[in-house]
Amino acid sequence: MATTRKGRPVGVAELDASPKELLGFYRDMLLIRRFEERAGQMYGMGLIGGFCHLYIGQEAVVVGMQAALKEGDTVVTSYRDHGHMLACGMDPKGVMSELTGRRTGYSHGKGGSMHMFSREKNFFGGHGIVGAQVPIGTGLAFAHRYRDNGLISATYLGDGAINQGQVYESFNMAALWKLPVVYVIENNRYGMGTSIDRASARTDLFHRGMAYGIPGEQVDGMNVLAVHEAGLAAAEHARSGQGPLILEMLTYRYRGHSMSDPAKYRTRDEVDRMRTEHDPIEQARQRLLEGGTDEAMLKDIEAEVRRRVAEAAQFAQDSPEPAPDELWTDVLVDA
């Protein structure tokens, strides 16, 4: 088992993955990293407006987790959603042009960074209100059980969101009705400027379902293999009718909460330490090299990823804004 109930760290060496699988994870994480760096840069140039929450540092969580799901499983998360969309297989061009508010974006420019959706990829958003996605993800699981379709709901939330009341209302219903949902807590240690120990009476978040009999596990969220293995077990648990499960992913965001956060509540040292000692992408890279992967191959992947991101960025700048009469469309479904 890649995870521990007591939060003991798990050595990478204990984990197995085929080199091909790991190479895929590496590519997917790198795509998110480079995409987010470019988004940050474009925000700085005024091409992206409003709030823009980058996922840099947390890539292993969504990449490992999504690889544990199967076709048709549903995903829902908060406003820090760019990585989730890319990991769901959504097109970087469509995501980036939503960030620039263009008609080619996933929401035709009407949603922006925090509100994007893809029916095709079973990605249900992108929600701006902290915690609101948790009952929604529980409802997706309800629908799966209702239809008895063998699918599950992956519902992502932050360490800040975990304290919202609606989270516990959801836990109760999910346990009561044995709904197929995996709650993935992305514990990046901060909710905006508030560190977890200043917001949570107990900081071992994987215990939060205890009162409802929901099992929980703590996972090294900087290690994509550990995440993947825990994800597989959790998905199996939910899919087999045993009800919800909580995975607490210990992770870290390198950037400020959003682009306008100076992040003075933590030291530069803390960030540097996570970056140099625990970076999920660097860890995967080292492991690949140790396993005999050719360095040139990694360079090719890097070049390929950069090319895709550059293409997406260019597309997002070249695409036109929505037509003015789009203002009035999509308010209601025509009936």
Binding site: G49, G112, N163, P262, Q314, W328
Partner: protein, 461 residues
């Protein structure tokens, strides 16, 4: 290849900033993630990280330079040639985001006491407002709010501030700057992200005789707590036959911001103004923010105090006197005029004043009323104005249906029917959730030209 590092926009409202410090020198190697410089924005000092790898070949803008426009090249990095795509230098800069600059307006008023036979809770005359002749200081609305809170906390030990990021972070929008340092953690309280919980806790503390100021990071998040605001705070005095009251202020930014899209951009003025048992305030000027917030804190009732992110940075002359109060329930004639009345509140007052200016050059004299308080509603001031001008345009950022403008239209029927020379005209936000795209956002919220066009329409010119 060389890449220009451009002055970044570090917040939705930033248009320029100051290079406080360079942390790298010319010739230094840089890696992605290295901090290059510190930049002071309108709200904070931010670190700028390198995105590209290479060598810092040139610092274009030296440290200490202020008013550097967003997108100005500030340094050049020569790279190691790995970037195959379009790099920063080849991306065309976008249009700068505009930030409103300020124009203070003279404080003029026309007191109009009313005595309706069956007083509606929402339309009661307020105490007379005295002309302020004391010392003023030019400060931002953000600072005016902070000063109001600080003065009231000094004055009354029962007053405390609670909300997300109000203490250590100094406020998500920097309204509570310095308060933790002065008053400590007992009275400036950071909460978890649990709006219903801390709003309800505030109501309980209010019942117990404290005077909570509950800050919502924005009013969008107060929807999590609206049950506590309406069902607990606003109704208990009535339901307890007057035994139990709740002296509490719920405050925070309301309405649109800049490009934050539907879930973070909404005007709740008519939602709260609908409810008996509440007072609802939505000021514009610095003096009104300060004077009304102080009145709200001293008020024995629950007060919903609606601020506006795009107004926080505006500067005004603000009274220094700690006993300066603005009474809740009084509108203010922001600009006297003869031919058409324009009502507005919060940020829309600024647009209404600009519209009045344009109308002036077109030969139309507009009277702008800053409503300031939405409940109790100062019907008398509006009615008196319309009985003079015979025309009215009601402006608000929120949606039209059952909005403040709809209430004003009803008031016109009830009290000004015989004076009207044209139908009431409303200028409102469009009846859609607010879109993200820059062009659609602009179309969705009222603009100066919409107000001008509406005023011309009711004047038939």
């Amino acid at each position: 290849m060389a890449t220009e590092v451009l002055m970044p926009a570090l917040s939705p409202t930033m248009t320029e900033g100051k290079i406080a410090r360079w942390l790298k020198s010319e010739g230094d190697a840089v890696h992605s993630g290295d901090v290059l410089a510190e930049i002071e924005t309108d709200k904070a000092t931010m670190e700028v990280e390198a995105v590209d790898e290479g060598v810092l070949a040139k610092i274009v803008i030296p440290e200490g330079t202020d008013h550097v426009a967003v997108n100005t090249p500030i340094a050049v990095i020569t790279g190691n040639g790995e970037d195959v795509g379009a790099d920063a230098a080849s991306i065309a800069p976008a249009n700068g985001r505009q930030q409103p600059t300020t124009a203070d307006t003279p404080r003029a008023r026309a007191p109009q006491p009313v005595a309706p036979e069956t007083p509606r809770a929402s339309r009661r005359a307020a105490a007379e407002e005295a002309e302020y002749t004391g010392v003023t200081r030019t400060i931002t609305v953000r600072e005016a709010l902070r000063d109001a809170i600080a003065e009231e906390m000094r004055r009354d030990e029962r007053v405390f501030l609670i909300g997300e990021e109000v203490a250590e972070y100094q406020g998500a929008y920097k309204v509570s700057q310095g308060l933790l340092q002065e008053f400590g953690t007992r009275r400036v309280v950071d909460t978890p992200i649990t709006e219903q919980g801390f709003a309800g806790l505030g109501v309980g503390a209010g019942f117990a005789g404290l005077r909570p100021i509950v800050e919502f990071m924005t009013f969008n998040f107060a929807m999590q707590a609206i049950d506590q605001i309406i069902n607990s705070a606003s109704k208990t005095h009535y339901m307890s036959g007057g035994q139990m009251s709740c002296p509490i202020v719920f405050r925070g930014p309301n309405g649109i911001a800049a490009r934050v899209a539907a879930q973070h951009s909404q005007c709740y003025a008519s939602w709260y103004a609908h409810c008996p048992g509440l007072k609802v305030v939505a000021p514009f000027t610095g003096a009104d923010h300060k004077g009304l917030l102080k009145s709200a804190i001293r008020d024995p009732n629950p007060v919903v105090f609606l601020e506006h992110e795009l107004v926080y940075g505006e500067s005004f002359a603000v009274p220094e006197d700690p006993e300066f109060l603005v009474p809740i329930g009084k509108a203010r004639i922001a600009r006297p005029g003869e031919q058409v009345t324009i009502t507005a509140f919060s940020r829309m007052v600024k647009l209404a004043l600009q519209a009045a200016e344009e109308l002036e050059s077109a030969g139309i004299s507009a009277e702008v009323i800053d409503l300031r308080t939405l409940r109790p509603f100062d019907a008398a001031t509006i009615a008196a104005s319309v009985q003079k001008t015979n025309r009215i345009v009601a402006v608000e950022e929120g949606w039209p249906f059952a909005g403040i403008g709809a209430e004003i239209a009803a008031l016109m029927f009830e009290e000004c029917f015989d004076w009207l020379d044209a139908p009431v005209k409303r200028v409102t936000g469009k009846d859609v959730p607010l879109p993200y795209a820059a062009n659609l956002e602009r179309l969705a919220v009222p603009q100066v030209e919409d107000i001008v066009a509406a005023a011309r329409e009711v004047c038939y010119r």
